[in-house]
Amino acid sequence: MSAPFAKLPRWVDYGLIPVINLLVAFLVAGLVVLLVGENPLRAAWAMVEGAFGSGRNIAYTLYFATFFIFTGLAVAVALHAGLFNIGGEGQAFVGGLGVGIVALALDRYVPWWVTFPIAIVASAAFGAAWAAIPAYLQAYRGSHIVITTIMFNYIASSLMVFMLNGPLKPLGSMAPQTRPFEAGAQLPKLNWVFNLFGANVRSSPLNISFILALIVAFLIWLLVWRTKFGYEMRTLGHSPKAAKYAGMSEKRIIIITMLISGALAGMMALNPVMGDQHNVSLDFVAGAGFVGIAVALIGRGHPAGIVVAAILFGALYQGGTELSFQMPDITRDMIVIIQGLVILFAGALEHMFRPQVQTLFASLSPRSVGLAPAKSGGA
């Protein structure tokens, strides 16, 4: 299927249009702030300052960004194969179960650098397992992956409530959470990096899973653009028919892609569970699975874009928290609105401003939109 839109230069497609969409989303969010009776410009400034104003704030921003790199990659990988994995929330939740089991089993006996790799594998395996059933159902029974992954989000939350109220709850405790992990399952913080630059950051939850996230983002880039499987994935996403005629197995691609996607979502759990809270509780995912959708859309499915978009959303989370201290009427729910608006304008309405941009570019330089040299066409 060819896109029903004319071509634009790459930097417009991947840079300008997302930025326009983002700006519109923020403008509408500003209207909401006006409706609440506050000054949108002051609110915006408070957010920027809250996110980047000091070393501590930047560390928090990057801590939140870590969540969204993982979940954004999870959504993006699936999208490349034309699958909409809306179940990142549940996969991350179950991934946390894997992390928790490993941490509880090992934390008293080995140092963190032994626990960490095993926990990575466990989180990925649990997340992938949770994506496996929807993947199987999509590949072999044709059930719509969006619906099954939504259902699995709810099943995951029931499963976790059960696990944290039963098998994983320490004796004599009332709260639905595991016992706190010992030092053997606590990831080192990255505060010293900021201290190198002269900022004095004593307490921030930023930990080495941020670095893991960056490495994983690079690996995903390799996978999608530099391997045979990545090529098959993208072919399926662009045109299932082409993939079929080329002899690629649709079922195999769907299942492997979803397993990777689920594994990425599951790995998100390392950041809060081993990096910050040092236990498994009921709220460590906190909507990050859904933010991944916005991040993947803004990042245009490219790992580099996703890292940037994740930092942007990390800044929104951190800045939004600071904002809610300054303007009590604007609670952290403001982030949820912005998130929704970003998903709306950058996702569902991504082509809304395209005709205008196209007309503009066509009149400025016809060649850039592929109009002038008629021979070189062939889209």
Binding site: P4, I86, L137, R141, I147, L159, G340, A348
Partner: protein
């Protein structure tokens, strides 16, 4: 207490729990039958619940509240339509966006306007849809078997409950016995054919989406103005998704939709009523997850096959 009386009570709460599910489920039916997937039922219900309760509290009128709730929900529906029909955007993405916008703005606006931590003020009886007592309810209450059924199940429900169950035959009639319904079903299966017949695909789908908005608004108002007395943060609590599950369970048909909603409602009511007894057999979470598990099993095609409208989720591009 004897078994019969307990059963009547459980069925009573089944009906009350099912009403918002049923309204949202029928709402989704219009949209999805026309080929527009809608996972934003949850958000529209939530926005309707908030707008309804807020307007009712300000204007001191339940009817005005219902009107505003329906308007707001329909407006969100039109946003979904604008994105997915006019701009041919991804319908899933648009639905997710609407859920977020509703979840965030209800709390922010509620806090800014009423300063009660995101709640709306508690509604007085005039501002709510109170239970309606059918004639002879008191007189018949002493009669065995019929008495409890009549007084506790049929009578004493709110107006919206009767509307919800009335909407089942109405929807059936609209879908299968009117020209609009025929075209609606056709546009969900094969929009090109409808277009060839000279009927506007976009306008037809917009009308379907408006029906969805109205019913979602009523569902939301039921939550905040009939079942509850005011809006509470995140009061839909996933009902929009259960309604979606029920819609699939019913294979996108109105009468089975009612039974699916009643079944899911019954699971909920039974889990609450027999919590302590059930806990000894299965964990209560299993029963809570049952609607979702059942839907997945159905989707997998192990008990019958749920086949969605063929053109569902695909934006219509007119041939040039």
């Amino acid at each position: 207490m004897d078994l019969f009386e307990t059963l009547v009570q459980v069925f009573g709460s089944t009906i009350r729990v099912s009403v918002p599910l049923l309204l949202a489920c029928l709402a989704g039916l219009y949209s999805e039958r026309s080929g527009v997937f809608d996972i934003g039922l949850e958000g529209k219900m939530l926005a309707g619940a908030f707008a309804g309760a807020a307007a009712a509290a300000v204007f001191h009128s339940a009817w005005l509240g219902l009107g505003v709730g329906v308007l707001v929900s329909t407006a969100l529906s039109l946003v979904h339509g604008f994105a997915s029909i006019t701009h041919r955007g991804n319908q899933i993405v648009s639905g997710v966006a609407i859920n977020f916008i509703a979840a965030g703005s209800t709390v922010i606006l509620g806090q800014a306007w009423f300063h009660q931590g995101g709640r709306t003020p508690a509604l007085t009886p005039v501002e709510r849809f109170e239970p309606i007592k059918l004639p002879f309810a008191d007189a018949l209450s002493g009669v065995p078997v019929i008495g409890p059924i009549y007084t506790q199940l049929l009578s004493g429900q709110s107006l919206i409950t009767y509307i919800a169950f009335l909407m089942v035959p109405v929807t059936w009639w609209v879908l299968y016995r009117t020209r609009f319904g025929l075209r609606l079903r056709a546009v969900g299966e094969n929009p090109a054919a409808v277009d060839t017949a000279g009927i506007s695909v976009a306008w037809l789908r917009y009308r379907a989406v408006i029906c969805t908005g109205i019913l979602c608004g009523v569902a939301g108002c039921y939550l905040s103005m009939a079942q509850g007395a005011g809006f509470v943060k995140d009061m839909t609590a996933g009902r929009g998704y259960i309604a979606l599950a029920a819609l699939i369970f019913a294979k996108w048909r109105p009468v089975p939709a009612m039974f699916a909603c009643l079944l899911f409602g019954f699971l909920d009511a039974a889990a609450i009523r027999w919590q302590s007894q059930l806990a000894q057999i299965v964990p209560v979470q299993v029963i809570q997850a049952l609607p979702y598990i059942l839907t997945v099993v159905l989707l997998a095609g192990f008990i019958g096959k749920a086949i969605p409208p063929r053109a569902g989720g695909v934006p219509y591009v007119k041939e040039r």
